[in-house]
Point group: C2
Chain length 137, copies 2
């Protein structure tokens, strides 16, 4: 996040020190962090940020379209700065969540669902990431 201040302003969000720290902690984070993980990262970054402020800011960011929540972990919501359509893979060994590009997968058969107005969908896959032999992973 090169310019979190401008990014927040562009979305009509007053860029306070706390919000900038929270934005920097989450907006380029592809690890699907929880609110608590974002709290820790934001506190490391610059200022004294309270838990309530992290929740307030995250909910505001979601409302303003900077973030989306995803139901991918038991007991807690995770935050995803990728607000475009995509799929998710969950590694069962350690719970790692990985974004899967939208165009890697095609879902066919939606004409069967003619009684439903589908606004969005995603494929959620579970399994294990293979360790590739010659490249890092």
């Amino acid at each position: 996040m090169k310019n979190a201040v401008a990014f927040l302003k562009d979305h009509g969000i007053q860029p306070t020190a706390q919000r900038v720290a929270i934005a920097e902690a989450v907006l380029e984070n592809t690890d699907h962090p929880t609110a608590d993980e974002i709290l820790v990262a934001a506190q490391e970054r610059c200022s004294i940020v309270s838990r309530a402020t992290v929740y307030n800011a995250l909910n505001l960011f979601v409302e303003k379209g900077l973030l989306r929540t995803q139901l991918l972990r038991e007991g807690t919501v995770v935050f995803d700065p990728n607000v475009h359509s995509h799929h998710h893979f969950i590694d069962e060994t350690d719970g790692t969540i990985i974004d899967i590009p939208w165009d890697w997968l095609t879902v066919q058969g939606q004409q069967k669902l003619k009684n439903y107005d589908i606004r969005e969908y995603q494929v959620i896959l579970r399994g294990r990431k293979k360790r590739s032999s010659h490249k890092g992973g």
Copy 2:
């Protein structure tokens, strides 16, 4: 659930009065209830059932393969007596969760995911159920 007692026995579960009430409350319930909803339904059914027993029994049923948990609602797990592969549609107006048969949808492109061992997957769709004009729904 015509014979919850036999069903529990078949799965190696001692069929106490509480467990039978819980089984009857959840095993033919396609509404994807939460633990708390199951507690209420079980209490209506027959006996004094405590919250702890509901959680104990539900976790046991999951372990023994009678139920599966699904992450489809914020803040709480839901229980699904359909333990076979299927998809889910979530009605955004009221949160209703509807099972979608496995063979209605086909997911293509999994060769792109050659670095992942996929154990299972499902499509999660969100939108609104249309009211069909000549049939109930």
